[in-house]
Subunit: 276 residues, 4 copies
């Protein structure tokens, strides 16, 4: 039985290290983990640089395996130390961790599984977990809640952009035609998005005067509608800010309830306020 | 006479299915309609992809006719089931529906009527009718009323941009000249818009040092004036938000219901307000 | 003496037609003037289109002279009908009108005076005079006062952009060098502005990995600082809106002075308000 | 001892001229300094223009030395006239001044020290010191404090952009591959930044239909996230404006002076306020 307790104790300690970020050991674990993740991402990048890969192919391969083994150990440790492993395995981070770990194993059996390696970058999101307890929280909560609150408006906006893109793509396909590079409607829609978003690669540009006239209208339209997401997010963010900095205590005498944060007396009737 | 009643009943039922979206049958009709519209748009897109069209020309042609017949039936049903057909025929959606239906019929007699097929994308706007009764309404009303309220400011802004474009186009035509691709003033104006809106295809770019200097000024100007539509829409949207969140208590005397949050007396009749 | 009165009367009537926009005759004069200005600008544009100029050279030349004579007559009429001609001649519009009229006369003696014709576009600004008395006034006043109020902030911003441009231009010239198209520091500065403003023609793009890294930083920087003019103008515009919609009447009983525009009673103490 | 006093006096006078900007002599010193800095920057630019350098190499070289000597004298004067030279030498401006002065001396011994000359542009920041006492102060303080206040949000935002860039870079590398110009992941990340920031050079653009589809999503994403920094800065700037325009009446009892505009009683001590 003592054995049992000890084992549980050991598991619980491991849990603290891996899942908690506010103990010294947990902090160190997280910092090392982030460094390993960054190294793993840099490895993936270097591998893709042809000259570099040719020179150091073996070194990169070995490092890749070391990273994979480290990730595997971490993944197993996470499963062991948690009470309900399924809670972790099927969580957002659990799935990312799994997908970031397996490509090397799969590469033994299949070709072209490298694509999954891209998912390693998603592991970087763990940084947000480490920052969880710091002042960065407020900022990201604010950002995310502003984006969430404007979710519906943004959907309406994106749908409108899609309809505009389809119409513009068809119109430009008919005006410019395949001889000017607008080989199909989907290709013209690609042009419409490139233009509306003011990216403007120039790989596809109108050549006929009428096409250029329509394109000018599209650009000015894009100029106008770039204001819409900005307007949505800004007004939402201003609102979020107000919420956070507002104070809801009400005066016991006159019930006025919009006081400044540092108010000690009601500025309407002079009554003393009870600080919350 | 019974016959008459039955016929009216049948018509009224059809009307409910086609024009209403809050009955189960009406909902299904709308969903199927949207799916047919999406299929029709995908068909138009696929037709424009050369390789695909060559391979499946007959299949596409038949599908096109099926869509056209479905649209025709829907158009006729809409006319039959409404009391005053002219109300539908000359409405925004009525005209779009008509123009989206006829291209295939016209193609029997004329060549080059494919252009009208682009209008099918406009039928997608029907989606907004289906979403009419959901929470998306508030968001789109908000968006549209913000854009409507800033209508005049945006007109002044667009007119100023037009004047700037004419001046810049003429100036760049004189500086760079046809030898650098600025073949005419309208073409230079196209360049000015491409630059002001920060699209920057690069199909037309200044080559002389002085032209590049002027272009730099234009870009910084464009940088500055991109702030104007954003400012307009954002400030309008912030206002809209405020309106929606305005106080809804109504005066017990005169029933006026748009009071400021800190109002103690109705500002219309002087009656004391009951704070909620 | 009667002659004198009649002459004055005739002059005063001419003055009303030319300078006033709220009499029927004045309105018609302004509308015709704007139309002539638009025709004159279209003429300048058509002249610059080579194919068109070759075909209709004589027609264009004659039209140009007709426009010039009309402008001359208008210019003389403006001088005659005003009491102090210098008030008009040296005003903003007076100078533009003069410069828009003389190019054809100068072209008899000099070559290359066509450049001045570009100034005709400036005459379009007269449109704002005609709209003077309409609801467009509020919108443009709002726009202009917002821009004026943010004048200093925008200067600070533009100066910072200039310093950043010089530094970036020098750095990229040193990194990329003439072999990659960055032939001189001014040319590199042109690149820096093209990149910072997110125009991105692509006529000049970094080719070395390090140059591309620096360019990436520049773009993200540009992404960030595009927020600054937008922020300035938006916050200013929000303020302007508040000002215009605010009401400054104060209650005679409690002196509260922030009432809604349609307030008839003070919402603080219930006292009747005197509408201004 | 008199000598000592005189020397001190001379030093103190020099200090006033060099370090103070509100005495006439100090003002003149600053204006001349800025002019010399501007001339020095123009020199560096001209030197980089090949044709110009070939023609006037000697003239440029001599001017460069004159500027260097002037800067050296100023640097020495600054060290002499200050009580604690280390306060200046290791300050921000001290380091810039040093680095802007030495390149010519170093060029006698080393090759390729021209890079440091780019730092001369940083000396332009001195302009802000001269404007220190003017109305430009408020504007820049406002700008800087708005940026400072949004520091954390901007960090969160930039980090998110970095993660997105890595993921997109990897995905596009896998989709498009080296045959379409996406030669490595870092190179693809460069493309991702060029696209996300809507710069769009076009030196690297997707060629496969699927790549263009992903690119379209990226552009719309970029369109959306351009709203985030704008929203952050705008809401912060609006807040700053509010702060600056806050009510300045001070309480007669406790002298607290940041009351709300409609405050009737001091919210700190409950004293009745005198409305201005």
């Amino acid at each position: 039985m003592k054995q049992q307790v000890k084992k549980t104790h050991w598991k619980s300690k491991l849990h603290d290290i891996i899942y908690e970020a506010d103990t010294p050991a947990g902090k160190w674990f997280d910092i090392i983990l982030i460094l390993v993740i960054i190294v793993s991402i840099i490895l993936v990048m270097l591998e893709s640089v042809e000259g570099f890969d040719n020179k150091y192919h073996n070194l990169l391969n070995i490092s890749e395996w070391i990273i994979t083994i480290l990730f595997s150990l971490e993944y197993i440790a996470r499963i062991i130390s948690i009470k309900k492993p399924s809670n972790y395995v099927f969580s957002f981070y659990g799935i990312i961790d799994f997908l970031a770990t397996i490509p090397m194993y799969l590469s033994l059996f299949f070709i072209g599984t490298q694509a999954l390696i891209a998912l390693r970058a998603l592991r970087l999101l763990r940084v947000f977990r480490i920052l969880k307890l710091t002042r960065y929280l407020g900022a990201s909560v604010n950002l995310i809640s502003a984006l969430k609150a404007s979710r519906i408006k943004i959907s309406v906006f994106l749908f409108s952009v899609l309809v505009i893109t389809i119409i513009l793509g068809t119109v430009m396909y008919l005006i410019e035609g395949p001889q000017n590079g607008f080989t199909s409607i989907p290709h013209s829609m690609y042009w419409a998005i490139v233009t509306l978003t003011t990216v403007g690669y120039g790989d596809l540009a109108p050549h006929t005067p009428f096409g250029q006239f329509i394109a000018s209208l599209v650009m000015i339209l894009g100029y106008g509608i770039i204001a819409v997401p900005t307007g949505i997010v800004t007004s939402e963010m201003t609102k979020q800010d107000t919420k956070i900095h507002s104070n809801t205590q009400s005066c016991s005498n006159c019930s006025f309830d919009k006081h400044m944060d540092n108010a000690a007396f009601c500025h309407k009737c002079g009554e003393k306020l009870n600080h919350e």
